[in-house]
């Protein structure tokens, strides 16, 4: 399993900082890279794929400098770029990329067929890329990235432009690849996708890595942002009065039949609320945590770093 290591990596573009003192160690699983436009996601991908050299620090893939040919052998990149050798067919393009890894004709052909099948392009691989749709291009990009069975896959916006059915297919594919022991790093603007796919997230804000870990862990570390729990009850005002007495509750707000509770410790809050409901004979219809999703986490982190 190839480990991707960033050690206090800083990248300057003249006077502008692309990413600033980023350190992380990625080994196995699916890692979602989150960040607004200009946050440094592309710079991260370019550094990891050896296209850029860090101004300070070090980027290593399986112990080798990411810019070295040995490291590139272990990396597959699907860039956020929609141009290919347009005169070729999808099959020819992926085959040419396989050959550029040094495989013999027969082996390259087999690998190309496998990669094309994996991304669900078998029936359309013979079409010229010049007339290919956005979704087909995305799939071909994925196929060329994994044609040499890389241990580390870097995918820049892999699901953009793909229809919902295709998204499901590719999500399953990524999960399968990760299950085979690969490390998959992908960037996306669609936070629901990150939430659904990633085992771990990296959040970049203005070039800095502000969070690294599983989504729930990251959420738990946001101490200044209490969790919001929505409770729907038949008697919201009585419920609010009872809940306000609990020790871990910061604030209570009644909105129609819904009571919004802000708490620092949701686990303990849930055990207490169960006891409370039984003791007071309250009718509780629904109980939901509102801001544990990637979107809320991302907006909290961004606001915190402002």
């Amino acid at each position: 399993m190839a480990e991707l290591v960033f050690e206090r990596v800083t990248k300057f573009y003249g006077p502008v900082i692309g990413i600033n003192a980023v350190s992380c160690r990625l080994c196995g699983g699916i890692v979602g890279l989150l960040g607004a436009n200009g946050a440094g996601k592309s710079t991260f991908m370019k550094l990891a794929s050896g296209q850029l050299r860090p101004s300070l620090g070090e980027v290593r893939v399986a112990g080798r400098a990411a810019t070295s040919a040995a490291a590139r052998r272990r990396v597959g990149l699907s860039p956020d770029l929609h141009v290919f050798y347009e005169e070729m067919t999808g099959f020819q393009f992926v085959y040419a990329m396989a050959r550029l890894h040094g495989y013999s004709r027969g082996e390259a052909r087999q690998r190309t067929q496998r990669a094309i099948e994996a991304v669900g392009m078998s029936d359309r691989a013979g079409r010229r890329l010049a007339g290919a749709s956005h979704g087909m291009r995305q799939r071909i990009k994925l196929a060329q990235a994994m044609v040499h069975d890389p241990e580390l896959l870097l995918l820049d916006e892999p699901l953009s432009g793909i229809d919902p059915a295709g998204r499901r297919e590719i999500s399953l594919l990524l999960a399968r690849w990760a299950g085979e022991g690969r490390t998959i790093v992908f960037s996306s603007h669609i936070l629901a996708e990150v939430e659904q796919l990633a085992d771990r997230i990296l959040v970049l804000v203005r070039g800095r890595l502000v969070a690294d870990g599983a989504l729930a862990e990251v959420r738990g570390l946001l101490e200044d942002r209490p969790f919001v729990v929505a409770l729907e009850a038949a008697e919201p005002r009585r419920l609010a009065a009872c809940v306000a007495e609990l020790p871990e509750v910061r604030s209570v707000e009644v909105q129609g039949e819904t009571v919004l509770v802000r708490t620092r410790n949701p686990q303990r809050f849930f055990s207490w609320i169960n006891e409370l409901v039984v003791q007071e004979g309250l009718e509780l219809r629904r109980m939901e945590m509102l801001d544990t999703g990637a979107e809320a986490v991302f907006s909290y982190l961004e606001a915190a770093s402002a």
Partner: protein, 254 residues
């Protein structure tokens, strides 16, 4: 072994893409025009063969060496790597496990047989159409053609590595530096590749009565020195291109 196979693929892929590109189609325009010119002049049928050789040589120096060679090499030299940069497909090569130096050498190796093949076919065509005079010219001018072609290709590859708009710079070089500076008095003309090519051509044609321009103006160097200069220019340009390409970051690719 795998690296060698990958490099061979790169050379083959680049050569095939260049051959079936619009560059090939458009370089055929000056080639066809010049072949029509030689066909029309029919140097082989002239009574005065010395005069025919002199006139044919004049055309080869001014038309072929100063225009057709730079323009054809420009088309292939700048588009071999510059085309990939312009289309941003260079990224797909740079993320493969081929060292960058080999990527550039592969591009150069792909463009040399293409440009040389086309230009030698064109030169052969002229010589064939010019009859006996052409046969003499082939023997006399072949080294100048080969060396100049390779030198131009190396320089244009350097441009493609260094400049984002390599075609623009190469055209300024081919039309301004080569034509204007190459014909200026004094040693400033030695910055032009065509100067060394002309020295070689005049030296090759001398036994058959081809006269170089007046020495006080042309200030010729020896044929050996010109050969070394062209070879040196090729090696130096390629070495500079390799050094730049090895360290250059192409941030505009994605």
């Amino acid at each position: 072994m795998r690296l060698l196979r990958a490099w061979q693929t790169l050379v083959w892929l680049s050569a095939r893409r260049m051959l079936f590109s619009s560059s090939t189609l458009v370089v055929l325009l000056p080639v066809a025009i010049s072949l029509l010119f030689v066909l029309h002049r029919n140097y082989g049928a002239w009574d005065d063969s010395a005069r025919a050789f002199d006139r044919f040589s004049r055309f080869l120096v001014a038309g072929y060496l100063l225009f057709v060679i730079p323009i054809c090499t420009l088309a292939y030299g700048t588009s071999s790597l510059g085309g990939d940069r312009e289309d941003r497909t260079l990224l797909f090569l740079l993320v493969r496990p081929i060292p960058r130096a080999l990527v550039l050498l592969g591009k150069f190796s792909a463009s040399v047989p293409l440009a040389l093949g086309l230009l030698l076919a064109c030169f052969g065509g002229y010589c064939l159409l010019a009859g006996e005079v052409g046969r003499l010219a082939w023997n006399a001018y072949l080294p100048a053609v080969v060396l100049s072609t390779i030198a131009y290709l190396a320089v244009f590859h350097l441009f493609a590595v260094v400049f984002r708009h390599a075609t623009t710079v190469a055209l300024i070089y081919a039309l301004f530096m080569e034509l204007v500076l190459g014909h200026m008095p004094g040693i400033i003309k030695r910055v032009a590749i065509s100067y060394y090519g002309r020295v070689l051509m005049y030296a090759g044609g001398e036994p058959w009565g081809v006269r170089a321009p007046p020495a006080q103006w042309f200030e010729p160097i020896s044929a050996t020195a010109a050969t070394w200069a062209l070879a040196g220019l090729t090696v130096a340009s390629l070495a500079a291109a390799l050094a730049v390409f090895q360290w250059r970051e192409y941030r505009d690719l994605t």
